[in-house]
Assembly symmetry: C2
Homo-oligomer: 528 residues x 2
């Protein structure tokens, strides 16, 4: 099935625009849809490659227009606007699809030899400019290195609950291969269908678990990364105290130190016991206090998602603030866990009209997709398609997320909401900002903001840039990180460069110069 050249995922899954328009009606009134520039028009306008395909890569590289255009950038709102307008000007000069490490090494060697920027490309779902080819000083062209051929689970270790997995495998194929043996990685970012294991590791993706193992980092047992100066292979260890953890320098390296080809990942049996409840709060501060106490309780819920009243309303979940609690286990029923979490929430004034829900799937041969969690997951995974529909209707819809201490949260929430409302008023004539917690920690939440505003056709990029600037500045001023799980790329650089310790930036630059002396890898991302 063909993937959209400008928007999210599969072309055929974009929702019908009249349905989207009906949903947006209460907020924005009647909207007039527009259609994107047809692919054939956009492709005909693509500039010619600056360099030929190196002979050494001919067997697995292409300079075909569609291939190049589909690797031109990620899926941030401005990326989609440009694609919608038929602009694929950031396309690489060629796309290489190595089928093994030997071919990948040939790509890196060719990039060094011909002075080409080398851009690792997984599912292309970056929302921070992380896969958009840009030339650094002295580069003659750019190669997008598409790793989709490295798509297999190579080995499963039942005893140590781990699996050796190739970096280019997409979420569904990964889960299908693990699921055939009863296992799961249980990492479900919103990009799940169109992102890869290697991409998750390179960007420190945030996944399924709301507490404890929130980032992919915690699931990495060992990793294999090809650098221009040799193979980075860490040992298979459950833990070690031998020097700084080498895996933690790979996690978040965003393709500037090497290309991740494989990892041993910690896997789990599919859960069979589930316990969940939705707790409603009239007061947001009380809901936050309840969420904090659950996060600090040591109960470790798999789900602990707080939606503010606006977010609950927009997503159709509820009319007030709602805390979604969930526990999952392959080992034991979770009644006492949920009972205690519910008692905490109710102690802060929450109510649970539907009561707790306990499930035991030991004896059921369940087809995937037959329960409420699967339904929620589908809605969650369809979010980016909805964003495309809104774009066609002239609505800027985007999100940003952070993490901060519980102490800093109230003022951060106030300041960010005020800044976004002010900026939406100024650049869009009004709009909506909502918030949820996607992950929570004993020392703070990860607030995730959604904003919607009316676009002025042709001025969307300027409008978006002002909104993004306001969001980043407000987060940064209030003590939040510029990203909890969307990486830095190029978009977040201004704030990241201030957030990270300066000696760490020096150390990272030194590491980069040593491992990538020709400076071919992902120029402009993360560090200069």
């Amino acid at each position: 099935m063909p993937r959209s050249l400008w928007g999210w995922g599969l072309t055929e899954r974009r929702p019908a625009l009249d349905t989207v328009a009906a949903r947006a009606l209460p907020l924005f009134g009647a909207l007039t849809p527009e259609e994107p520039v047809p692919d054939e028009v956009a492709l005909a306008a693509l500039q010619a490659p600056r360099v030929p395909v190196p002979a050494d890569l001919a067997g697995f590289a292409s300079a075909a227009a569609h291939e190049r255009a589909s690797h031109a950038r990620g899926k941030a709102y401005p990326d989609r606007v440009r694609g919608f307008q038929g602009d694929h000007g950031s396309a690489p000069d060629l796309v290489a699809r190595p089928r093994d490490e030997a071919e990948l090494l040939r790509v890196l060697a060719a990039c060094e030899a011909h002075k080409l920027a080398a851009i690792p490309f997984g599912g292309g779902s970056s929302v921070v400019g992380g896969v958009e080819p840009r030339l650094g000083p002295g580069h003659n062209g750019a190669v997008s290195i598409d790793l989709a051929a490295l798509d297999r689970v190579l080995e499963i270790d039942d005893v140590s609950r781990s699996a050796r997995i190739q970096g280019g495998v997409f979420g569904p194929a990964l889960e299908q291969q693990l699921g055939a043996q009863g296992y799961s990685l249980r990492h479900f970012p919103q990009s799940f269908e169109f992102s890869t294991l290697g991409g998750w590791i390179a960007t420190r993706a945030g996944g399924h678990y709301a507490t404890l193992h929130t980032h992919i980092d915690d699931l990495v047992q060992s990793v294999r990364m090809l650098t221009p100066r040799g193979l980075w292979q860490s040992a298979r260890l459950p833990a070690s105290g031998a020097g700084p953890d080498p895996n933690r320098l790979v996690c978040g390296s965003e393709g500037v130190l090497g290309v991740i080809t494989e990892a041993w990942m910690r896997i789990v049996p599919r859960p069979v016991y589930r316990a969940s409840a939705s707790v409603h709060f009239a007061d947001f501060d009380a809901a936050v206090a309840a969420t904090r106490e659950v996060a600090q309780s040591g109960l470790h819920p798999a789900n602990c998602r707080l939606l503010d009243a606006r977010e609950a309303m927009i997503t159709g979940v509820a009319a007030d603030n709602v805390l979604l609690l969930g526990f999952e286990s392959a080992d034991h029923p979770l009644g006492p866990w949920l009972e205690r979490a519910l008692a905490i929430a109710i102690g802060h004034g929450g109510s649970c009209p539907r009561g707790p829900r306990l499930r035991d799937d030991r004896d059921k041969a369940r087809a995937p997709g037959d329960d409420a969690a699967e339904s929620w997951r589908k809605t969650f995974l369809d979010g980016p398609y909805l964003q495309d529909g809104l774009l066609c209707l002239g609505i800027i819809a985007d999100t940003f997320e952070t993490a901060c201490t519980w102490t800093a949260f109230p003022e951060l929430f106030r300041a960010v909401t005020a800044a976004m409302n002010d900026t939406l008023q100024r650049v869009c004539g009004g709009g909506v900002v909502s918030c949820r917690f996607t992950h929570v920690y004993p020392d703070g939440p990860a607030p995730y903001f959604t904003f919607l505003g009316r676009a002025r056709r042709g001025a969307e990029l300027e409008q978006w840039a002002e909104l993004k600037q306001a969001a980043g500045d407000a987060l940064s001023a209030a003590g939040g990180t510029i990203t909890h799980h969307h990486a830095v790329g190029r978009t977040h650089r201004p704030w990241y460069d201030r957030e990270r310790p300066e000696p760490f930036a020096q150390a990272l630059r030194a590491a980069k110069r040593t491992l990538d002396p020709a400076a071919i890898l992902n120029p402009g991302v993360l560090i200069d």
Copy 2:
């Protein structure tokens, strides 16, 4: 109270040698005690400093013999033997005791100016040569930087459960200051009484929790480290996805990149609910299988310590293999947690003759030290004193630890035990090797080995070197890390240098050259 110049901790707490001899009698027969060379004799033999105290440091630095000798090395077995023999030849030329960051900066500047090696020193409990001054190329002398003046909890954030703490504070003073407000860091390494927060972070110490947050790394919210090229200060964040985690490059840096002066640490209220049980197994393999299932259950016990029959016997706990299970919480009673863990263990053939023990301390004003856990902790903390007693009696007593996958464990256990037994036979005429798991993970255990053998007076260092070589080689060959929580220092370099990915070594060296261009910091430790 005076600290021992050669042995562990306080001189007065060394156990009576006749008591130790009585305990050792069944294993080694009658033993003849010897006493260490008296301090005054050893200090009189100390060589003169190679360099004068720099004028700029005069207010807080000393070249007094006792001060220098007490910073000559750590507390590994060979360190103690040298000290016992009156050899403090590795003493620094001066000891600086900065009282704030300004004075610390003056120390680093003086070291650069006068070409002196700068050795960060916390409690001096390193067992891997991590605080022993050695001169690198071009050094004129060495300064030990004792951080004990930085001994305060500066700030507590109740809402975000975190505390800003100075790097030089020792364990008991840290817990006393947090405890005054009802909190604890709950990090209790065996060195607890004579090690510091900064030392724990620099060496990735292993602490109280047997599962989940096993290393200090997980408790670090942000860290402040002075490097020769500027201040490394990370932001206070519960989590972030912005680039590789800068804190993770500080954890395990062992003083080669900078000196840790402060950290915001995640703290917890003191637990009031406890649930524990001891499960006995006739068969070691069954005990391992039970421990693995508990580690993979998602129950997250605070204690999950498996002692093999020999270890249980030596420590007087039991005559068979025993699994110590414990849960602790400040939030909720733990009956269901322990019940499930016990069911797992009994399902593998374990028996629990004393039954589960549940405690609720909500209403008790307990004095510290009044229960079994405190009693065990005291025995645990007294372990290094016992080692001193055995040394006086002519017994080599030492430990080493690792971590490996569950899959690798059976062969690792067999090979390590065989190698140690063979080597003990060869160099000591026999001896004992025992094993326990100090920490466990879903993908593998952290086995901790103890060995005992008879020393030949005067040849202890050669005997120990052969035993250490055998241990390291066996661990390395069987796929274990060279250290789970005792750091690399200099002693573990041969195996660490093979264990770490070569490109990571290059990156680390590049970072070191950038942040410490004069190469003053802890030469020879971790990297060259």
